[in-house]
C-alpha cells in the first residue's frame, strides 16, 4: 500500500497499530480459506465453490452457536462447509464433471439452502439473532509490549489458530506421507495410481479439508467477527481467498502473505476515506486488488500440473 494513501486518508500513527490489528482480523477468514484452497488444488481439484462453503459455514455456525454455544457452533460450521465440499467432490471427482461448473453450482445451491434454512430456523431469510463468541485470548508476553498490544491482546482464538495453521499446513504437505501423496495426485494422478495410491481418496481428502476450513472461515465471520449471521457477509471472500492462494503460488506461506495483503486492503476499504474518490470505489479495493494480482501473478505462479483436470482411470 502506498504511504501517501494512508497519509491522504489522515490516519494518525497511533491508529496504525489499530489498523493493522483490523487487517489481521480481516485476514483470518481469507487465510483459513486460502489454506484450504492450497490443499484442494495441490490435490488437483479447483474449488470455486469455496464462497458457497463459507456461506454455508457462516450460517450453520451461527445456528450452532445460537443453539449449543460458540465452540460447537464453529465445529458445526466447519462440518457444514465439508458437507458442501463433499457434494463438490462427488460431482467433480467421482463423476468427473467440470470442476468450475460444479463449484459455481455449489455457490448457487449454498445461497438458496441458507435462505430457506434461515427462514425455517430464524424466521428471517437474511439474518440470525445475535450469537455468543468464543472468549478472547491474549498472546502471553507479547501482549505486554505496548506497541504490539492491539495486535496481541483480546484476540479471537481462531486468529491464532489460523496463523498457527500456516506452518502446520506446510509441514503436512511437505513432511508427511499424506502430503506427499496428495501432491502426487495433483501433479500426475496416473503415476500415483500406478503406484497404488488411491487418487479418488486423496482428492476427496483435499476437497474436504478445503470445505472444513472454508466452513470454519465462514464461522469466524459469523460467530467471531459479527456475532450473528447476515446474508452476504462473505462478500466474495471465497473468491478473494482463491486469488490469494494463486498469488501465494499454491503454498501455505505464500497464501498467508497474499491473504495479509488482501486483509489490509479489506481493512483500508472499510476504514479509510480518500478525498475525491467515492467510497463505493474504496470499498471495491479488495476486488480491484484481486484482479490486479491475478493479472500480475502470471509467469511467477505455477499451478500443480494436473490442477483442474479430472482423473479418469484408463480401461474403465
Amino acid at each position: 500500500m502506498h504511504p501517501d494513501l494512508i497519509l491522504a486518508a489522515g490516519v494518525s500513527s497511533p491508529a496504525i497499530a489499530d489498523a493493522v490489528a483490523s487487517a489481521i482480523r480481516l485476514t483470518t477468514p481469507l487465510l483459513l480459506t486460502a489454506l484450504g484452497a492450497v490443499f484442494t488444488e495441490r490435490g488437483g481439484v479447483v474449488n470455486i465453490g469455496l464462497e458457497g462453503m463459507m456461506i454455508f459455514g457462516a450460517f450453520w455456525s451461527a445456528w450452532g452457536a445460537y443453539t449449543y454455544g460458540p465452540l460447537a457452533g464453529l465445529a458445526i460450521g466447519a462440518v457444514a462447509g465439508a458437507i458442501m465440499a463433499l457434494v463438490h467432490a462427488i460431482v467433480s471427482v467421482t463423476f468427473r464433471v467440470d470442476q468450475i461448473v460444479s463449484g459455481v453450482a455449489i455457490n448457487t445451491l449454498a445461497y438458496g439452502l441458507v435462505r430457506v434454512a434461515s427462514q425455517a430456523l430464524f424466521h428471517s431469510a437474511t439474518t440470525s439473532p445475535s450469537v455468543p463468541s468464543l472468549p478472547r485470548i491474549d498472546v502471553p508476553v507479547l501482549d505486554q509490549i505496548p506497541a504490539l498490544q492491539p495486535l496481541m491482546a483480546n484476540l479471537s482464538p481462531l486468529i491464532v489458530f489460523a496463523f498457527v495453521l500456516v506452518p502446520v499446513s506446510w509441514w503436512v504437505l511437505n513432511r508427511t506421507v499424506f502430503g506427499l501423496r496428495l501432491r502426487s495426485v495433483g501433479e500426475n494422478p496416473l503415476a500415483a495410481d500406478t503406484l497404488g495410491i488411491n487418487v479418488v481418496l486423496m482428492r476427496y481428502s483435499g476437497v474436504l479439508i478445503s470445505g472444513l476450513l472454508a466452513g470454519l472461515a465462514g464461522g469466524y465471520l459469523a460467530v467471531e467477527q459479527t456475532s450473528m449471521y447476515v446474508e452476504g457477509m462473505t462478500a466474495g471472500r471465497g473468491f478473494v481467498a482463491l486469488a490469494a492462494m494463486i498469488f501465494g503460488n499454491w503454498t501455505p506461506v505464500g497464501a498467508m502473505f497474499a491473504s495479509l495483503l488482501f486483509g489490509l486492503a479489506d481493512s483500508l476499504s472499510i476504514r479509510v476515506t480518500i478525498p475525491h474518490v467515492p467510497y463505493q470505489f474504496v470499498n471495491s479495493l479488495p476486488y480491484i486488488l484481486t484482479i490486479v494480482v491475478l493479472a500480475g501473478a502470471v509467469g511467477h505462479a505455477r499451478a500443480p500440473a494436473a490442477d483442474g483436470v479430472p482423473y479418469e482411470r484408463s480401461g474403465e
Binding site: 506421507v177 502426487s184 500415483a192 500406478t194 503406484l195
Partner: protein
C-alpha cells in the same frame, strides 16, 4: 529348458468396447530370462503387459506365478507379487525429486511422517547396488530421458520386483543410451531378475532377448529362441506376410536444376522459459525432396516446426517460401501460401476430437469461399466434397456426421493427410507423421509422402523414429540442442555415428560461443 516357468498365462482374453485386444493368449516366462514380446502397434502387446502388471483384469484366462494361480486387482497387488512395469510414457512427477518419485506409495514412514533425507539415503544406496548413476535429490524435470528411465527402473526395483516389464523402452532413447540400457538389463538378469521386454524393433530384440514371442491381432503367433530367429522370419510372423525392409524410393527426374522451395535462414526460436530452443538453424528444402530432421526429442524440433508454421514467434532469422518472406506471418497466411502441416500430436493439434468428421475435414481451410453461399456455409456442398475426399484417402468411417474421436488413429491421420494434401500445397511440414500408427497406416502415410515428393513438393519430415527418417529422406539433418550438428545422405553414415551426432558427442559445426546451458 525343462524348468517350470516362473509365470504362465493361459487362455487370457481381454475385450474393450468394439475391440478384442487379447484373444486366448498362452505364454510362459522362464525364471531369469529376457523375454521379448514383439508385434506391430495394435497387436495387443501393451494390453497384455498391463494385465501382467495388474492394471487390467483379464475377462477370461488364468495367470500362474510360481505354480500358484494369482488374481490382481491393481498395480499394488502386482508389486506385492514382485511384478513391476516401466511404462513407455514415463509415469514420473517432474516437480518431485528422484527420491520422492521412487518412494511414493511405499514411503516406509513411521507415524505417517515423511523424511526426505532418509528417503534420499535409501535411494542412494539402492542406486549404488545396481550401479545406476542418479542423484536422488535432483528434480526429475531436470533429468535426461535416459536418467528418467533409470528412475523408473529403480522404482520397480525399490518395490522388490523380480519380474520387470519394459514397454517399448528404447523408443525414446538414442543408440548410445540403448546400449547403456542393455548393459543395465544384462546386469539385472545376472542379479536374478526376469525381464519382459516389449518392442517392435527387431534388431534390438534379437540383440538383447533370450526368447521372443510374437503377437499379431491380439493372438500369440509363436515363441522362438532368439538364437534361432531371423529378422525376416519374425517380421513375417508379426505382419502375416513377407515384409520389404527397403521402401521403393525412386529417384525423381527434374527438368532443370532443383528449385529451393522452403528455406530457413539463421532461424532462432525461443522455447519454454524464454530459452533458445532453436539457435541459428539454416537449410533449404528443394522441390521433389524430402529433408529429414533427426534428433532426440526435445532438441528443438518442435519449436523449429512451430517457428516455421508461425505458431511460435521467431526471435531471429527468416523463413522463405519460394522467395517470399513468410517469417512471423500468422499461421493462416503461411498455410494459405501453400505450406501444408501435419502436426506431431494429431489428437491435440491436428483434430478437434468432439467435432464431426466433416467439420474436421475442413479444419484450417474452413474460410475457403467454395464452402460458402454468401456468409453461410453450404453444408450440402461441403459434405459432398468431404465424402469424395475420404473415399480418395480411404478414411474408414461409418458416418461423416459422427465425431472424429470415434475413428481409429490410422483413420484420423488419413483424414489429416486428406485435408492437407488436397489443398494443393507446394511444401509439406510433417511432424511425427506415423507416430502410434499400425503398419498398414504407416505404409499408407509413407506412400503418400513419397507420392507428394514425386509430384514435386518439398517436404520437411521431422521424426523421432530414426528408421523412418533414413527410409524416406533424400537428405537428413541432425538437431542437437537447437542446432544442426550434421547433414548427410542416408546410407552414407553408420547408425552409431548418427547416434553420436544425436547425442552431441560429435558435431560438424563449431559449438556456440559461451557454452551450452542444460
Amino acid at each position: 529348458m525343462a524348468e517350470t516357468p516362473l509365470l504362465t498365462l493361459t487362455g487370457i482374453t481381454k475385450r474393450f468396447p468394439g475391440v478384442v485386444a487379447n484373444r486366448d493368449i498362452n505364454l510362459a516366462i522362464q525364471r531369469g530370462e529376457i523375454h521379448a514380446i514383439v508385434g506391430e502397434n495394435g497387436a495387443g502387446k501393451s494390453t497384455l503387459m498391463r494385465i501382467i502388471a495388474g492394471l487390467y483384469q483379464p475377462d477370461e484366462g488364468q495367470i500362474i506365478l510360481d505354480g500358484r494361480r494369482i488374481q490382481m486387482r491393481g498395480p499394488r497387488d502386482a508389486a506385492r507379487l514382485g511384478i513391476g512395469m516401466v511404462h513407455q510414457h514415463f509415469m514420473l512427477i517432474p516437480r518431485f525429486t528422484v527420491a520422492e518419485n521412487i518412494v511414493l506409495g511405499e514411503e516406509h514412514a513411521r507415524g505417517g511422517i515423511f523424511s526426505p533425507r532418509e528417503a534420499e539415503a535409501r535411494i542412494r544406496e539402492l542406486a549404488a547396488q545396481y550401479q545406476f548413476e542418479l542423484d536422488p535429490t535432483e528434480l526429475v524435470e531436470n533429468l535426461s530421458v535416459g536418467a528418467q528411465q533409470r528412475v523408473e527402473l529403480l522404482k520397480v526395483l525399490y518395490r522388490g520386483a523380480s519380474i520387470i516389464i519394459l514397454d517399448e523402452p528404447t523408443a525414446v532413447l538414442v543408440p548410445h543410451e540403448v546400449e547403456e540400457l542393455f548393459a543395465n538389463l544384462q546386469s539385472l538378469r545376472q542379479a536374478g531378475k526376469t525381464i519382459i521386454f516389449i518392442s517392435h524393433k527387431l534388431d534390438e530384440v534379437l540383440e538383447i532377448a533370450d526368447r521372443i514371442t510374437v503377437l499379431r491381432a491380439g493372438r500369440v503367433i509363436g515363441t522362438v529362441p532368439a538364437s534361432q530367429a531371423t529378422k525376416e522370419q519374425l517380421a513375417e510372423m508379426m505382419v502375416g506376410r513377407p515384409v520389404l525392409f527397403h521402401l521403393e524410393k525412386p529417384p525423381v527426374k527434374l527438368g532443370g536444376p532443383p528449385i529451393g522451395v522452403l528455406e530457413v535462414r539463421d532461424l532462432t526460436v525461443l522455447g519454454a522459459h524464454r530459452r533458445e530452443a532453436v539457435s541459428g538453424v539454416s537449410f533449404v528444402v528443394r522441390q521433389c525432396e524430402i529433408l529429414g530432421v533427426a534428433g532426440v526429442e526435445g532438441n528443438g524440433q518442435t519449436e523449429l516446426v512451430e517457428g516455421i508454421m508461425g505458431l511460435r514467434p521467431v526471435a531471429r532469422g527468416k523463413v522463405i517460401l519460394l522467395g517470399r518472406d513468410i517469417t512471423g506471418r500468422p499461421p493462416s497466411t503461411i498455410r494459405n501460401s501453400g505450406v501444408a502441416f501435419i502436426p506431431e500430436d494429431r489428437q491435440r493439434q491436428g483434430l478437434v476430437l468432439p467435432m464431426s468428421v466433416w467439420e474436421n475435414a475442413m479444419l484450417g481451410y474452413h474460410r475457403a469461399t467454395e464452402y460458402r453461399r454468401g456468409v453461410f456455409y453450404d453444408l450440402g456442398r461441403i459434405k459432398d466434397r468431404v465424402r469424395s475426399l475420404i473415399r480418395t484417402y480411404d478414411v474408414r468411417t461409418p458416418d461423416i456426421n459422427g465425431r472424429v474421436e470415434t475413428l481409429s488413429g490410422g483413420n484420423q491421420q488419413k483424414l489429416i493427410l486428406a485435408k492437407e494434401m488436397s489443398s494443393s500445397p507446394t511444401a509439406i511440414v510433417a511432424s511425427q507423421p506415423t507416430r502410434g500408427l499400425d503398419v498398414g497406416a504407416t505404409e499408407f502415410v509413407w506412400q503418400r509422402l513419397l507420392a507428394a515428393r514425386a509430384e514435386g513438393l518439398a517436404i520437411l519430415l521431422v521424426s523421432a523414429d530414426l528408421e523412418e527418417v533414413l527410409a524416406l529422406s533424400d537428405r537428413v539433418i541432425v538437431m542437437y540442442r537447437g542446432q544442426i550438428v550434421t547433414e548427410f545422405v542416408p546410407g552414407t553414415l553408420p547408425a552409431t555415428t548418427i547416434g553420436e551426432y544425436m547425442l552431441g558427442i560429435r558435431r560438424d559445426t563449431p559449438a556456440p560461443v559461451g557454452g551450452e546451458k542444460a
